[in-house]
Assembly symmetry: C2
Homo-oligomer: 353 residues x 2
Amino acid sequence: MAAPTPLLKDELDIVIPTIRNLDFLEMWRPFFQPYHLIIVQDGDPSKTIKVPQGFDYELYNRNDINRILGPKANCISFKDSACRCFGYMVSKKKYIYTIDDDCFVATNPSGQQINALEQHIKNLLCPSTPFFFNTLYEPYREGADFVRGYPFSLREGVPTAVSHGLWLNIPDYDAPTQLVKPLERNTRYVDAIMTIPKGTLFPMCGMNLAFDRDLIGPAMYFGLMGDGQPIGRYDDMWAGWCCKVICDHLGLGIKTGLPYIYHSKASNPFVNLRKEYKGIFWQEDIIPFFQSIVLPKEATTVQKCYLVLAKQVKEKLSKIDPYFDKLADAMVTWIEAWDELNPAGASLANGKK
Amino acid sequence: MAAPTPLLKDELDIVIPTIRNLDFLEMWRPFFQPYHLIIVQDGDPSKTIKVPQGFDYELYNRNDINRILGPKANCISFKDSACRCFGYMVSKKKYIYTIDDDCFVATNPSGQQINALEQHIKNLLCPSTPFFFNTLYEPYREGADFVRGYPFSLREGVPTAVSHGLWLNIPDYDAPTQLVKPLERNTRYVDAIMTIPKGTLFPMCGMNLAFDRDLIGPAMYFGLMGDGQPIGRYDDMWAGWCCKVICDHLGLGIKTGLPYIYHSKASNPFVNLRKEYKGIFWQEDIIPFFQSIVLPKEATTVQKCYLVLAKQVKEKLSKIDPYFDKLADAMVTWIEAWDELNPAGASLANGKK
């Protein structure tokens, strides 16, 4: 059933926030070298990132971001890996894969190295099934199918916009869980891919994530984090909640499960707690907000959906904290900047049904 | 995190439709012998089922069902394994495990025999998390937890009403898929348990299924199948759709995934096609019907919810086929019979919030 995997060499960019770890690219060389890399440096622009020979890359630091976006650069986080979303915006490719520099190649239970990127591409090229749950998981995989009782009219599926990969070794826990379970490691390799059902939110992690820029790119905004902001570590979560409600509205799918990467290092739980603690309160209101969002019929493009979201964030979340007022403005700026850098996509997006 | 597994010896009945396979109980002896069995014979009452020595069991044939239920016996299917739901009704235990006689003990990837019943009990005793998706699957398992971004207010979970287990070897396919893929075998052991999100329907298979009678029993009606009915092989599906919308309404959870059993034999696809073909059409209307069901606030017990469902089936599905008119009546009869045989449960159910 599975088609032979195309490499999509000319259709995919790998976006990486600051690379602090010199082993990182060496370890991924066999898998990443055929692709173009976009590196977005989150901190001091005077520091130089040394990219090993043989990689085809472009690198943006804060000065570049300011130069390219001008006053609109204020929608891009500073001193936080959330700045990576600038890379999504300047890419000209259809697909993006983004990965953190503490994520290494994992091995499957047979001891083989996992080509995470290849699996993400397979996920993105294969339809999603958000309207009904298949108990044997991904129905399009070799050796699987739709089970008895699955409506035939839903078996064609819908286009997949996002592929969310998982992590062996260090799980993606919040600071309180890190503090309580410092020794916990994820050793369970779950051989599954599944579509997250329509109407269900999930915590999207940006560590090992691929998406279709044409389908969902303008919603993949990682918000305002880091320097000068009251919150961190909610960049990918925010993007995930926005993407999910927009995918649900537009009839697009989000997959989670395979591929795994090996997450090598837990970040400091004390530092994380400081970044997260407001988010831990706020998410109790943010989740019901996203759960109750209804996008209007007229919102037929990602951009239009996103601007409706921004408006609702301003109306309904600003009362939690003035931060959300600022975030709502930044969401609008992000879309303006996106459309400026992607004029074809903007007109396409505004023109297509 | 996982509690030591209680056997629940005096709180669980195993319900089995007609046992045609003499090896079946021998293979399960180490796991089933401590429990009480309820065998419900689906066909000719004059045929005797030989139960091997050492098992504690009661057996009901059609004459028994007619004697116990009187005119209400017409809600129990004849010559179809759907009759098993009579066993759910006569049980006096809190938990039920039901399994088909062509399901054997499976082995996990390490080659160990899987104690399916023990895993079902673990699933039922552990909360469910239907309101938000956890990307590392069951958060309560050893070595797992809720990931970053999972709201803390939802981490207590809700009671689990149903545990839906899976099948290695012969997958649970409909007749068309069986015909197209006669050689397909499920060899993928997915080491996961998950809660099916609120608002999402799934195809519930009765081959390897456990549930909490107190929480959901009256909704576990397997409908009218077999002799004299225009449809077969939708008994468990029907029960699954009804259970899911009621669990969603009452704030109960349904888990799927582990444990696996080994499904030894594919049923005849030609026979299956004859039983199924109307269902294949009808499910295209039934699924949207269940997806749009809204149960009223006053429906605070399973029985009340189920009677509302029966009414709506009559109103909205009878136009598809007169069969649904009959089915809606049988649903009401089923509840009457259930309450007659379970007077304590009936009053409890009507009294509790």
